[in-house]
Symmetry: C2
Subunit: 168 residues, 2 copies
């Protein structure tokens, strides 16, 4: 299986962190989880996950398709959507509803419902556990007599860095 990494070359890497490490951890975690669960993190699925983790931006399905073609010549939309379905089912990827796009999940395997902070400027998505928010939601559900199955809390705005640059 070919690999994709090509250490992000000289892309301006926005948030100060060791992204290679970050990707590496995410992939290792995914491998362990799938192995534990007895599900197959196949070559295609692994490649899609790797592509998603190339940045912390939400990425579109057809963008993934274009980018996987050099590696999987036969790739078609269904190829990507099937891989995404799997990755989402395993909690390895979030679907960002408001963008029709996908982002790597940092809390893979945990059950936390997440808050996604989506920066309009740099397009990066920050994931937060936001316990208080989820508690307050739970109380709303109780009052409304609503049985929640899935929560999508997506907020668009400016991240700290981009807001800071705007002011400067």
């Amino acid at each position: 299986m070919k690999t994709l990494v090509e250490p992000t070359l000289n892309l301006p890497e926005p948030n100060a962190h060791n992204h290679q490490q970050c990707v590496h951890d995410a992939l290792k975690t995914a491998e362990h989880l799938c192995s534990e669960r007895g599900v197959q993190l196949t070559s295609i699925r692994h490649q899609v996950l790797e592509l998603i983790w190339e940045s912390h931006k939400a990425v579109k399905a057809y963008e993934l398709l274009d980018r996987i073609k050099p590696l999987q010549n036969a790739a078609k939309p269904a190829t990507i959507y099937r891989a995404l379905d799997f990755l989402i089912a395993q909690g390895l990827v979030h679907r960002v509803e408001s963008l029709n796009a996908f982002v790597g999940c940092r809390c893979s395997g945990h059950q936390h419902e997440q808050l996604l902070l989506i920066c309009k400027q740099c397009e990066e998505v920050e994931e937060r556990t936001a316990g208080k928010v989820m508690q307050a939601l739970a109380e709303e559900f109780r009052q409304a007599g609503f049985t929640a199955h899935s929560k999508a809390v997506e907020v668009h705005g400016l991240c700290r860095r981009c807001a800071g640059l705007g002011e400067a």
Copy 2:
């Protein structure tokens, strides 16, 4: 301008309320707001709004298109999307991101960010102000240094009635 109402005939109207009154109020409110704001609630926009309010379910753009054709023979996708853009900008309609669908807004003209409770069974959307949730969100934003521009809090699950029926 033709009208659409045809008093919901014998559709099983789920939630116990006077829906005709409900629609009437929504339309009147919309008319007043647009007039106050000096924007045009044109015939097409009014018809689209009326169609959206036919139920409390989220409705798809192309469903609206099909349903408006008897009245607006020339209607094309852009006809609907333009009307929707307007109605959303005026806060008269919510876009439900997780469904790519649209629902009438009950708090038109107010600035409240809303919580949308979307029932998987009856497909109705309940809108709640959820002050505590929004407060908790605000606190998260502060911690994250995030400047929020739009919040979409959409939850899928079962409404009180449908959950009740399930148990029964």
